[in-house]
Subunit: 261 residues, 4 copies
């Protein structure tokens, strides 16, 4: 079965800003979904902020293998309830691809546990993305580096936890560097952050960038059953201990009582 | 100057439960503070849930090098504002020691980005804490293992991110294992989670446990200046780029405009 | 195409020790290969110490996707040249599964950069292997734990580098714990160490252990092209720099000269 | 007591190459030692390749807290016995600072378990070293970045294991990037690799570089007792098991027999 992928877009600049509209007439989310669907092993649909529940109902998320997230202007408008719901699905095993300015999205900061801040400059300068792990699944089909001709600079320090893997580091005309592709695991879910993607440039039309996104979806997909128990602190009664033991000393909880949370 | 340490305690069972009261007549937080103050390089005071701002005003946190956190029954009663304030200080460089049932505290889950759930059993069984890194600063003064004679079992899977270091793993009479001492870094702050510490047993009176806590405070203390810039995404104007560049192509933000957040 | 897997066995106790011979009449390597071949996506053959080049010629390794390694008595008899050859293939992308007493093999110690020592006891005691990551590819098809009824105890501290992932931790009757399943990446190659497998017990006939081995082979297999450049420090001549620069200042090497090694 | 530091230098170009001699009349090792000794908490002496045992006798290493290593042309001339000796001291807890072209030294490759290859270009170009962790002990006293005016380019991919921490990333005039400051732990020993330091430029006379080296020595120093047991696989006899057990089933080793290695 194809990897059920939802491409989430904030869809504000896409409609309100003339430059962005001219680059992505159907919205960035639509352009990303088209590029993902070019791979027959991926089945991508879209969801946007203005939809009910931002297009991310519990029922839909349950049927989602990988979610990609692009937001910029309206991080604060995303409901905490939906953010929690997305986080829970990541913990259960859903993959998450976090794009560009979504470094500041509620969902990424929640999963990282850090501010996820960085330096930035919007000068249309050149970015060279270097591949650190040539045989990483996310880097397949790329050369040793690729160029994003006009980009927004994102510079270090990027206040993220130490990544599981640093796949890409970017060089900028203006003198900065940035860890532009990093991976994490949170519970059962794989997470990939990828920084190229400023909305006023045609970055999601770039062949290398599209290759990265398709690779990332396939990498983030977990075929294992959902880790459904991850949300609970399960009591193991004394008579169900793996090794036979007997109750000793005082206790706080009556037998069968739930733990505090 | 001594390490300015605040021992935070929920202080509910300590007052309301007769068993806990008999073990810790002044409260667990007081007992922990006394054991920390036995080391002249540490200066520990206490704070509790029922105090204004839970005893953790911005002014006090600013003067705090390391915070220890014990909570169990009332995680939900801790205000989100104080949790955010504590997180911000950790990101700036304050150390954080998370104790026992605080695996489920708001602050630990916020910094980890995972559910932090586990298995548990309150049977007064024996726990043997194994030292995996004999020359780690937190393990100094311990043998190859030490025993907590009566403990609450905490069992794997413990849904935390992969630790920076696994310092201790515990063995239980009843057949389970647990990563009982793990370290993390979040922004500028070092974090140590340590699982022994169930309130109905005299665990914080144990000499080995006290050694761990004193070591952990010293390990978590960062003498560096606070990483105050960690909260901001700083714009680097085009004319302040490290290498000379000129503006190219369209842009979203007017010069000098703040970024979105 | 099936995953081309070579099961390497020392094949000494298998022939010389009556107990081992009775448990594994064809040798442990043969038993492991049979259990791997039960999965149609794996194509496993065997190689042993006494063969020319220990059965690991350059030509054969080049056609190998995943290598499993079991050794105990004769680590020192493995030629350094073959060890180097295996390491080079791991760096290029070949997966490596390191079994039981191969914690002390030349190849594992070479790839880890640490002594890889541990505690041990041969008492036929019970081992309970706990799954820390229920949806990890290597843990698929297992319960929350499984039992190895009679085992050799391997105890912490296990002097390995901090793992990329800790998948299993074992509990022993005698009171010890051990990180019994850990993953690493070295260059392009994935490495999995799995501790159960003492030769006098029928551990490789156990269904759960066989499930782990099949999962591990599939997890360790990299479909990407070999990272062939990993062995070289490539000079980038000044006129081939990604950005135009000119030679400045003195230099050590004449143009076109190879670097030192 | 001051941190007993040995600055090891290959001392070949320092004597034979006129340019290097003019930059470092006493040798690079001497210049580094002088800069370290500017900090009263460090007591640095030197050792060089041409000395007996390369100046690294067992007795001297035993009294060494931190070793710094610079080599380039003669990695192969370093005796394997001395390399093993140095590795053993690192595992016991000695800190190791690996400088520039020592990425290809026997000791670094032995401790990493990877080829440690990279791209290079000797063009006297500019390197900008970015600080990723402003409050890391190794980054104290630096600004957000610092410049090495003329440098040898070292470019990614740098085939090292995923670092424990990435402290610095460098930007080059010619378009490349490099993880120029990374940390590891191997056994009890902390390791820091720092790439600036090409011998034909006065890099070790640079104030920022000297600050990094002094910081690194202090960071790498472990005040804990040596982890002397790390070299041995200790047998735990059945009657010495932490929990009482009895011998079951067959065994390979006679009681009291040493394990294989």
């Amino acid at each position: 079965m194809a990897i059920r992928t939802v491409v989430w877009g904030e869809n504000i600049h896409d409609r309100e800003n003339e430059t962005v509209r001219s680059v992505y007439p159907e919205g960035m989310h639509a352009a990303i979904a088209v590029s993902l669907n070019a791979d027959p092993s991926i089945s991508a649909s879209t969801a946007t902020l203005e939809q009910p529940e931002h297009g991310l109902s519990a029922a839909r998320l349950k049927e989602t293998d990988v979610l990609t997230w692009w937001g910029h202007k309206a991080h604060g408008a995303v409901s905490d309830e939906v953010v929690q719901r997305v986080a829970e699905r990541v913990w259960e095993g859903m993959g998450l691809i976090v794009l560009h300015s979504a470094h500041y999205s509620k969902i990424f900061r929640k999963l990282m546990g850090t501010p996820c801040s960085l330096k930035w400059r919007e000068a249309g300068e050149k970015e060279r993305v270097w591949v650190l792990k040539p045989n990483h699944p996310i880097a397949q089909g790329l050369g040793e580096s690729f160029i994003v001709e006009r980009t927004e600079m994102y510079g270090e320090p990027f206040s993220i936890p130490e990544p599981l893997e640093t796949v890409f580091i970017s060089w900028y005309d203006g003198g900065e560097v940035f860890r532009s592709g990093v991976t994490y695991q949170r519970g059962g879910g794989r997470i990939f952050y990828f920084s190229p993607g400023h909305e006023v440039y045609p970055i999601y039309h770039d062949a290398n960038v599209q290759t990265v996104l398709r690779n990332a979806v396939k990498w983030a997909h977990s075929p294992a059953p959902a880790w459904s128990g991850i949300h609970n602190a399960a009591n193991v009664p004394v008579d169900k201990a793996p090794e036979p033991i007997s109750q000793k000393g005082p206790r706080l909880h009556a037998p069968g009582e739930a733990g505090y949370r």
